[in-house]
Symmetry: C2
DNA sequence: TTGCTCCTCACGTCACGTGAGGTGGC
DNA sequence: TTGCTCCTCACGTCACGTGAGGTGGC
């Protein structure tokens, strides 16, 4: 029989750890002195402790280990648990490797002089499907024509009283980005369906499980830089493009911002334009 | 300006997360209504939020991110942080890969019929250096000669009143394991130095930063199985042997157990022998 | 007697998730 | 008025580490 300190010393398991295992019932001391509450461990308990440590080293949680030890399950079950664990660890490794790639990408961004341009932070998030009033057309994306199209869909939504409190969106349906005239779709989100007319279509706009996104602040003439950063990120991180580019107009002046608050809160109404670029992506090889 | 729910929705950041970032001062809402305590966020804040999310995805902690954002440091500093982070993630990956190897080893142990033999749980821990009274000799490790040698060092330690409360140890100095006569060293730990005599040497026994260890319960004639399991584990997990095998006699009958408690606590004195095998190891390629 | 070891609370960790219980705006 | 959204506590997570404050054994 060993006092906790000795047992701790030659097992290389901290006293606190042993007490913790006692507390959760994972490894009870063979004997506890009723007067002093001193814990006494027997050499018999070493195999169990070692089994606990070995399973912990495989990444099992203590509660799970308790079940593994006490139900003493069949080899087949044990094999199942191990394979599950293996899958989890493999996933973890993939995750950390992807993280490494992101870090490398960021480092090389610093190495290159591009660090002197405003830095863009690329973030991956989902894009929800939603109902929208939309107009799709071939126009010059830089022209006033786009503004007119937005006015049209906004008028449509206002007329039917179905404008949802989310920002307007523009989708670039051509694979390539900006070269004069191209196929774009302007739209505003709706709270409920309304009958379309000759110009405006009401449709569900599909979502994406993952899109690489950047926020661009300032005029639209510099959106190209944001898009370039987005493309570099997507390539550098082993993704491939999986859908048309979306532009979300988070702030674009005071007009048409039905989803904004009353004047009292328009503290930032004089600020610059804020636009999010969303590029649907998927992992290469999956 | 957006209410927290809307801001949450199109950033794909949970409301609770935004409140948390507010609480720790990482991302304060542009405006908080003094009457309702409602939080209002501005589109201006999206770049900062995206920066937070991007850094978090690289694995930085929130407190660290706060420092990175508010001190806005030089490119050189940022590069240093990233390289540090990269090193940590690489370490993490190596750790998870080693874990994968251990899981694989355990799986293949199950696949082979060896699973029917008593399962040994191999654990890696340090072996402390310590002072000991020792006798080193070429003898047959299975013979009574070993017992006599232990009696001798125990007598020596008792005579000088320097016996430490740790179990006796035997070291196999030959590279190979058990084949009749070999070079072994028996020893008991001491609390203080004492002058050696013709037979007994007093010396510091070196420690090891890592040893693969198994607990064997039962007679010594089956220790070979434990050793075999140890060797398989060491090979299967890409380690190489880095020192002589050690046998620690954690329980070996009631005699000579000066580190045990009075009779009242000898509840397990009739139990089987308990022995730990310790094989110093190091990682291949490091 | 003095260290040394042991004990039991109790709190901290990290980034939120999950209710409980209550209020403001359409 | 009824939902819906927002608010503030407060507790839980996971495997312990770190004191604080006190006691038993040589």
């Amino acid at each position: 029989m060993f006092k906790i300190g000795d047992f701790s010393k030659f097992t290389c398991v901290s006293v606190k750890q042993l007490r913790h295992y006692d507390e959760i019932g994972l490894l009870r001391p063979r004997l506890v002195d009723p007067y002093t509450s001193y814990r006494y461990y027997s050499a018999d308990q070493l195999p169990r402790l070692n089994r606990i440590l070995a399973l912990r080293d495989l990444g099992f949680g203590l509660e799970q280990i308790a079940r593994l030890l006490d139900n003493d399950l069949s080899l087949e079950q044990m094999r199942g648990m191990l394979k599950l664990r293996r899958a989890e660890v493999e996933k973890q490794v993939r995750h950390e490797l992807a993280r490494l790639t992101r870090i490398e990408a960021r480092l090389s961004q610093i190495e290159q002089a591009e660090a002197t341009v405003p830095p863009y932070d690329v973030v991956v998030h989902a894009v929800e499907a939603h109902l929208a009033a939309a107009i799709r057309q071939r126009v010059d994306a830089d022209s006033d024509a786009v503004t007119h199209l937005f006015e049209e869909v906004e008028r449509f939504a206002a007329r039917h009283r179905v404008r949802a409190a989310s920002p307007p969106v523009m989708i670039y349906h051509d694979a390539e980005y900006r070269d004069g005239e191209q196929e774009i779709e302007v739209m505003v989100p709706l709270t409920a369906a309304a009958p379309g007319d000759g110009q405006v279509t009401v449709r569900m706009v599909g979502g994406h499980t993952a899109a690489a996104c950047v926020i661009h602040t300032g005029g639209y003439d510099q959106l190209e830089m944001a898009f370039a950063a987005l493309l570099r990120w997507v390539e550098g991180n082993q993704y491939t493009i999986d859908g048309p580019l979306r532009e979300v107009f988070l702030r674009f002046g005071s007009s048409g911002e039905g989803y904004q608050l009353p004047d009292a809160f328009l503290a930032d109404s004089t600020g610059e334009f804020v636009t999010e670029l969303q590029l649907p992506i998927k992992k290469i090889d999956s």
